[in-house]
Symmetry: D2
Subunit: 320 residues, 4 copies
């Protein structure tokens, strides 16, 4: 291939800019041309496309968000949207496309692939819930941002001998809650992938108090229920007066961590190598600490992301 394009789609994640930079620089290094598409699939259909030069991605690696912008665009689920998108790509002479995003974005890449246009997906989401990879771009930054908040809340919880419910992002996946919970020394972690019993949660808090623990921190994935609901239900099991802290959009932004920037750079470089060899219909990931590419159709249709539940057990044993 001689000319490829790149877009970001879905919720922004720290490290997306590092990935765009890597794709752009690596492609130019390899003698290809790169086009940036603004506003995800919406911009693709609208033809909001421009050439990217080496300098366009300078001073971007450290920035949160995505300088190509992102947008929701359900219309791309239709044949009409997809055909219009391919038309635009052909108009610009683009032969391959890199899509950075989460689940929904992958569906767009999958649709293009099925229609014969070579697309490569890079997993970019704070939720870490993408099949085909152990880690997504943005996850490491997100858990560190959550962790910073847990550390802050611990100060207040300890000073006032209080219980806090910390609600974190994660509709379907408990990864953020699990990792940040273990790292934050949470007394309990509540995730969609594991049952819990409110009476046991309450007992756990009581045991901690009885041995003199000053604070109690419960990390809750939003997919289970809202923090206030949880606090209300907990109150039925004892005199806890738990405070609730909802860590929302704050967790999406920020300068990416070293690991997210390195991962994004590797993913971006690998995507270009695939497209250079004419390979599309793939999604890039890291598995067992190796960069891999798997068939996008097989990955999306037959594979599922599973959080590391050994962390759940470990936390139960370390924070009793």
């Amino acid at each position: 291939m001689k000319r490829i394009a790149i877009l970001t789609s879905g919720g922004d994640a720290p490290g997306m800019n590092a990935a765009i930079r890597a794709v752009t620089r690596k492609a130019i290094f390899d003698g290809m041309e790169v086009y940036g598409i603004n506003y995800g699939f919406a911009g693709l259909v609208a033809g909001d496309i421009r050439k990217l030069d080496v300098a366009d991605v300078g001073d971007k690696i450290q920035r949160g968000g995505t300088f190509l912008y992102s947008a929701r665009y359900p219309e791309f689920a239709t044949a009409e949207g997809q055909l219009k998108g391919i038309e635009q790509l052909k108009k610009f002479g683009i032969e391959g496309l890199v899509v950075i995003g989460g689940d929904g974005s992958y569906q767009g890449a999958l649709a293009l692939t099925k229609r014969g246009f070579p697309a490569v997906g890079l997993p970019g989401t704070i939720d870490n819930d993408i099949p085909g990879t152990d880690f997504t771009i943005g996850f490491d930054t997100a858990i560190n941002t959550v962790l910073e908040s847990i550390d802050r809340i611990r100060d207040t919880a300890t000073s006032h001998v209080r219980t806090f419910i910390i609600e974190v992002m994660g509709r379907g996946a408990g990864d953020i809650a699990l990792w940040a919970g273990v790292a934050g020394g949470a007394d309990d972690i509540i995730i969609p992938e594991h049952d819990f019993d409110m009476q046991e949660v309450a007992d756990r808090i009581r045991v901690g108090r009885d041995r003199g623990k000053k604070h109690c921190l419960i990390v809750l994935a939003e997919g289970v229920m809202g923090g206030n609901d949880f606090a209300d239900k907990l109150a039925e099991h004892g005199d806890f007066h738990a405070r609730v802290s909802v860590l929302g959009h704050v967790v999406r932004g920020g300068s990416p961590t070293a690991r997210d920037r390195v991962l994004a750079s590797k993913f971006g470089g690998h995507a270009v190598e695939l497209l250079k060899e004419g390979k599309g219909g793939l999604c890039v990931g890291i598995r067992e600490n190796e960069i891999v590419a798997t068939d996008i159709i097989d990955t999306l249709e037959n594979q599922k992301h599973h959080p590391d539940l050994s962390l759940y057990t470990l936390n139960q044993e370390l924070s009793f």
Copy 2:
């Protein structure tokens, strides 16, 4: 005086530990003994009091929260509570008391003073709403924590071309919203001390969009209304779909900034100098960049804290 005590009361604020350290070290340096009272006025009445040594406050200056703990204790508003507290102080041979906290804590110090026991108040609250001082311990850390969140949210707001309502702490005082708003380049700041017109807020957003602005950030003090209510009301004035982020207890904790630690150290040192000379019934503050002490009765009964409203005007002019 030969023996003084110290307690922290009300909501914790970063820098309280630095103040406790300063009082303890300075008093011992000056040949006095220092006692720490756990859990604020509750611990005072209960006699939860222990001697503090130089080493007890080592490795504490950088920690958030208060290692003497804090607690709400409405019972100290009664004559019974106050007399019991003074009895405990006398039992331990304590001749003066340093109280670190906000409005409610000052009332306790005032009550002791009126009953003849020399107390000195240090302003410790993230809200900056204490009369007698331009700045309180914890305020500088809090506005930097809020600012960090604003910077993160800007990434997402820009990437998605969205409007965000950022609700920050401040029941009665708009100081946090004002300072963090100006520092964060907020498009609008909504505080209890200044009227606002929702139509003008909406117009302001529209003007920004029309000139190509990607994000719109509105910083809202919780004392005006909740973030979700604000977003709902804003939606009546245009198609904004504003996202809401509530920065709650996260803002109370964390390692104090340089300025909060220096301020706390100066306040603590000055409180000891006052008590050493037998002076009580005072509250310490910083005014016009000088450490001062004012009569606690006069300060609480006749003075009011006013935020720096020039910041409001400045922001309107800089973020149009």
Copy 3:
């Protein structure tokens, strides 16, 4: 005035971008035009000048460094350089100039003023060593960056029961060492403005060790001597094996703190108000917590910056 310009000069300081933004936005708000000059006085003489629009300063308030760049340019000390600079300003129809920088930059503003061109100086340097102001833009960020490093080094010093010499910036002024030292709980602070006796330093370390202190941190302003020299001299007074950490250019950069951004915004706004009224030959500062403007000739020729030496005494009393 209808058209003003702005440049940054000397070492960069966090908050310079916030000041450029404030000058630009406030001037446009007040109906004036603003021109940005790249590379300080070098760019002025070379005519590297362009119009700044509202959007040019968008998304800049949070960035470290200066997007107008800076440069050393000793040639501006000559009449030839100054006259060429004024010629360029007149060519662009510019009637007033805002100069953001330190001591050297002020000399440039002073020279222009003496030649009849209205210039206003804004104090922008991490060193805090500018007459006419209690605080400079960048100082607050710098002391927090130093403080973060001190907090990190304390971990290692404590774990290994070691003495560390932490050399910080400050050729002529001890402000950074003083503030960061007090905030970091330094065992000793060595600054140009206060004598010290190496034997007393050594004794102080010994006393700390004898009472069980695990770490010893000495904050040293580079203007006194280098950290390695200090460690060598200290070794002559006892078996200390002090480690040395030199915090160099790291301290200049980074996103500005809330206070630096607010200060920069206020300074910038005030500079425009002065120029709007046709007033030049002034330097802006903050004194006793009020924004002020003083005659630049008088300020530079007759005033001197003095660090707050009460901090020195306080530290000696708190860290014995």
Copy 4:
């Protein structure tokens, strides 16, 4: 086993406290007793040993350094030292030992193992240079601390259009330089494991300048040469006037990242499971994203750590 002990040795690394906590809590959860040994092998020989309870490791997971202290102790290389150490362990009824540290610490664990005392090594060092594991406790925090400094220096480098040499820790291993360099978008990375040609470095800088790049950042592992030497040698190849920033001990401390805390918790938990089953003579690591344990004799004698040199190639391609 019913009673185990734990010590930290060598340079401190962020996450050591999280590992101590995990070992302690997991062992108590599994019905064992845990003893903490202060000051590494020195404390072992001296019998500076105490029982650790659940509460002793509370509020420690977030702290940098090691609360068991560390110390160099070359005497443990002798038979006398080792026999004395084993004697102390037996005196306290300790049946197994967890050693957290780097290369030298592993030698101690190896010696005990060879003498028949079951020891398990956990890799704790910022350098990431331990055989038997892809990542060590502390490495992730260290690269993020270095990265923060690179991001700061970029501000100044860009503002002044300068070249910076950033010297980072790493005597024998280039891992820190490699990861932080890729994440920081370094123009060049100089490590012990890869040759470099100064003329090519100079050419690379020139190419960057010619295409308008404002800054040039070279990340240098200290094992290659000192930063000032490098700058001097570089100056022989062109008019670069490179500034040098030496990031020293600052990088060892600080609160551990989420990943380091999770890794430390997993390592600690696994070490206890091994000892519980009576298994010693092992070192714990993470390989291909799985927690593993390998024979300590084989690992230390036959395996070598290799940095991920694909990062070197990638960086050359992304930062041309």
